[in-house]
């Protein structure tokens, strides 16, 4: 092999390894890994299964909330969520029909919500404001209408 080629490939491999180390450190040491919840549910019996039989916003601790949410074509239940600034909110979600995507614009909240699976994602809302929640996985003819809002006061 050419000497310069060896240097180039050595550097390339080094950069990729460094990249992996940083990604791994962030994911496992800093707990920044992507949403990967592993519980399952019968997708045809969501309304009869706890906790999704009672979707809503629950206070679980000091400025800590859990939002139990179902996604269905073409909406989110509950709608129009309100939490105080600085609240740490865990969304526990599942789909009642097809695949949906749960995204809150302007935050890092982004998770796939599939029928048969329960998904979880946690976020701390530091800034007050009106956040747009939307479905980012195509779910049918009304997909572009599937949205709601989170108000942080």
């Amino acid at each position: 092999m050419h000497r310069l080629e060896e240097i180039w490939l050595g550097l390339s491999a080094g950069v990729l390894v460094l990249f992996m180390v940083i990604v791994g450190y962030q994911a496992f040491a800093l707990g920044m890994g992507p949403p990967s919840h592993k519980e399952t549910i019968d997708p045809q019996k969501v309304d009869q299964t706890e906790p999704f039989d009672k979707p809503g916003v629950y206070e679980t601790g000091e400025n800590e909330y859990e939002v139990v949410m179902t996604l269905q074509a073409f909406g989110f239940t509950p709608n129009d969520i309100e939490v105080p600034a600085g609240a740490e909110v865990t969304f526990t979600m599942t789909s009642k029909d097809v695949s949906h995507g749960f995204q809150v614009a302007g935050t890092n909240i982004n998770a796939m919500v599939m029928p048969g699976h329960i998904q979880e994602i946690t976020h701390t809302f530091e800034e007050p404001g009106n956040y747009l929640v939307l479905c980012n996985e195509y779910c049918g003819s009304g997909h572009q209408l599937m949205s709601t809002e989170i108000t942080v006061k």
Partner: protein, 559 residues
């Protein structure tokens, strides 16, 4: 290493006579289908771009998601497959001295199967029975005819793949102790990856057919999705190897240089074939039901695909520098100006390669676990694959046309066509910078992909995306203009341009290059390694999805 003419006549008598007419017909047929498909798919792309920005309202009988499904399937599956088969069969025939008669028949059988498949798929989309997009994620359920059409398309591609395997085997038997010509080696790599990469999705589609007919009540959503992506991203790398075949084999000849290293090119092909299939898993980084550990393993598997590309980057720039210096380029960068920028056969693939610098970097972002969470299913992703597929692969394909079409139709690349090609390349580049650039930016702001025009009840966040969508629509307009120019150029060169012999450019290796070792041809070993990598990547998650499966989902039609 040019062989004496005597040897060429003895080994490959057909090669001395230029293109084999029967083989040229196959390529002409596939390329014609490719560019008609491109025109239709491109038009649908513009319709989408305008609708998305709120500049165009679609009639009641045609909705955005039908247009999007057709755009995706026509361009991602049909255009690329038809072009690739036309191009690879021409080069394969050229470098191994003509196809076997039975292989020709298989290529025609493949052609018919693909056309039948396209007809079935397009019909169901037009009837609004299959608005499920290119990914057709269950439990969205299309008409069974849609899935049957997809099976036909896959069978057509397999028929062409099998033809290549048979002809390769035949050539090797008659050339003991020789390595295959580099282009034929690339062709083998492409079709092996295509075949193994499409196995998963074929299993998926075969389970969807009885389910969509109501014979089977439910489907395992996560297994389907995982099988789909084992194909979905592999396909991307099929195009990528096809593009690199032109970079490695033909560009050195076009620019008056030499192939950097025949062996290195083959090692790159082997690595891409072995490593590729698990790459698709990064599409599922924010899915439920998969542990963070498994996801991290897949980040590693996806990132490893970057390594052969970095090898390619070095080799290509080494070829450019040497060719430029030979032509008198001085100093650190003098060689760069000596490259034939006025030759579309160089300019188009060169822009394509340069586009892979941001394209590849974007790919690393997409594949990297938590960063994926920022951009998943946003417009960023659309921007990413329009710069990688739309420029790196497709602009290379466009550049190939300016020598391939004259070669197969025994015509010449006229100066006017060359000029038109340069204009086409510029229009395409500017269009993509505008469209892909604005998509990347607005994606970071949260604008979702695969969504028709909406302001979400005039939410201020969504209203802030509209200006970027205008730029996207303008870029899409330029791109359709580029497509019209390209389609005109292809058919002009196929049927109207001045007659004459055109060359299929095959680069030669440097005089002092190392010999290519025969072990590179051990495809059975590469296939075993490929299967081992696939097993490492998929056995754990798929078994997990099956063993710990929730009750399945019934077919649902939400459109």
């Amino acid at each position: 290493m040019a062989k004496p003419l005597k040897d060429i006549i003895r080994d490959d008598p057909k090669k001395t006579l230029g293109v084999t007419p029967e083989d040229a017909k196959i390529s002409k047929a596939y390329l014609s289908v490719a560019f008609i498909t491109l025109l239709v798919g491109g038009l649908l792309g513009l319709v989408q771009g305008l609708e998305r920005a709120g500049l165009l309202e679609l009639p009641a009988w045609l909705n955005y998601y039908q247009v999007l499904t057709a755009h995706g399937i026509l361009l991602i599956l049909i255009f690329t497959a038809a072009f690739s088969i036309g191009y690879l069969y021409a080069g394969f025939s050229h470098t191994i001295g003509g196809l076997l008669p039975k292989v020709r028949k298989m290529a025609w059988a493949g052609f018919s199967l693909i056309l039948v498949g396209v007809a079935l798929v397009v019909a169901t989309i037009l009837m609004n029975e299959a608005s499920v997009l290119y990914t057709f994620y269950p439990p969205l359920a299309a008409s069974p005819v849609f899935y049957i059409g997809l099976v036909f398309v896959v069978l057509g591609i397999w028929s062409c793949a099998l033809g290549v395997f048979i002809n390769y085997h035949h050539w090797r038997k008659n050339h003991r102790g020789e390595v295959t010509p580099l282009f034929a080696f690339f062709t083998m790599g492409v079709f092996i990856l295509w075949f193994f990469g499409s196995l998963g999705v074929t299993i998926e589609v075969l389970t969807l057919i009885p389910w969509s007919m109501g014979w089977k009540e439910t489907i395992n959503v996560m297994v389907s999705r995982t099988l789909f992506w084992s194909f979905g991203h592999t396909l991307v790398n099929v195009w990528y190897i096809i593009a690199t075949s032109a970079w490695y084999v033909t560009i050195p000849k076009i620019i008056g240089g030499k192939i950097f290293s025949d062996k290195l090119a083959r090692v790159v092909v082997i690595m891409l074939v072995i490593l590729n299939i698990p790459g698709g898993f990064h599409h599922q980084i924010i899915d439920p039901g998969i542990s963070e550990t498994v996801k991290f393993l897949h980040v590693f598997m996806s990132v490893s695909i970057a390594f052969p590309s970095l090898m390619t980057a070095f080799a290509m720039f080494a070829v450019f520098e040497r060719a430029g210096r030979k032509k008198g380029g001085k100093g650190l960068f003098g060689w760069f100006t000596k490259l034939p920028w006025g030759d579309v056969r160089f300019l188009a693939p060169m822009v394509a390669m340069i586009a892979f610098i941001p394209g590849g970097a974007g790919g690393l972002i997409n594949t990297s676990n938590q960063m994926n969470q920022v951009i998943h299913n946003t417009m960023w992703v659309v921007g990413h694959f329009h710069i990688t597929v739309g420029v790196t692969a497709v602009l290379t394909f466009f550049g190939i046309c300016y020598w391939l079409v004259p070669y197969i139709s025994k015509r010449q690349l006229t100066p006017q066509m060359n000029k038109l090609g340069i204009i086409q390349t510029i229009v395409w580049t500017v269009g993509m910078i505008l469209m892909s650039g604005s998509q990347h930016m607005v994606g970071l702001l949260g604008d979702p992909r695969r969504t028709s025009y909406t302001t979400y009840g005039d939410h201020e966040t969504a209203l802030g995306w509209i200006p970027y969508e205008y730029v996207m629509a303008f870029g899409a307009t330029l791109l359709l203009l580029g497509i019209i120019i390209q389609v005109y150029a292809v058919f002009n060169m196929m049927f109207l341009a001045t007659k004459g012999e055109s060359e299929f450019p095959i680069g030669e290796v440097e005089i002092n290059a190392e010999n290519t070792p025969l072990w590179t041809e051990r495809w059975s070993l590469w296939i075993i390694l490929l299967l081992m990598v696939v097993a490492m990547a998929y056995v754990v998650p798929i078994v997990d999805f099956v063993v710990n499966a929730p009750p399945g989902s019934p077919p649902i039609k939400t459109w």
